[in-house]
């Protein structure tokens, strides 16, 4: 499955752009995080980060479906 991933804040700098396209062989969020960390090891240096699916925070065992809007959410710092 080929998916687009949106990036914000420092994740945009780590990816070198506001989105990336990757080919995913598994479909869980946990698997996606492993793949991203292999490809972009700087993600592991963050205080934490979350994945959002369709504008909601997702757990590691949640499954990704074709067409979902996926985003990397580094530590938030609004206010």
């Amino acid at each position: 499955m080929i998916i687009d991933i949106l990036a914000f804040g420092i994740a945009k700098e780590i990816f070198g752009g506001s989105s990336i396209t990757i080919e995913l062989s598994g479909s869980s969020i946990g698997y996606l995080k492993e793949m991203l960390e292999d490809k972009y090891p700087r993600l592991k240096q963050l205080a934490s980060y979350m994945i959002a699916v369709n504008n909601e925070y997702a757990n590691n065992d949640q499954e990704i479906k074709q067409g979902d809007e996926i985003a990397v959410i580094p530590p938030v710092s609004g206010g």
Binding site: F8, Q45, G78
Partner: protein, 138 residues
Amino acid sequence: MIYIKLTSEILNVQSCIDRVMSPESGGIDVFIGTVRSATKGKKVVQLEFEAYEPMALKEINKIAEEVLNKWPVHKMLIYHRTGILQIGEIPVIIAVSAAHRDAAFDACRYAIDTLKQTVPIWKKEVFEDGAVWVAAHP
């Protein structure tokens, strides 16, 4: 009643207060965030705010709905800026009206504390010699 907004335009405090004012309210509690000139002794030049807009609005709305369920408040306003802000400018305004002050204070505090933890908005501090995404690294 809930009022939420993400905007690149300047936030006006008085118009936020006017929004939440209501005849049955006995008080309004307002939190105004302002851009400070230094972090850990280092001079800040400006701040840049970036939001994942649809999700940020969804999370802000969740906070406002939670507040209305948890406290007897009348109107709740949460406005947040995006883009580049200079020292002294206002990135966030929370305003809550209620019949009695305890609910207004508690709700306002809860809203700003939760916003800082859950809403996908990021702040970049720009110093004279570089820039840092706040809270990104341990």
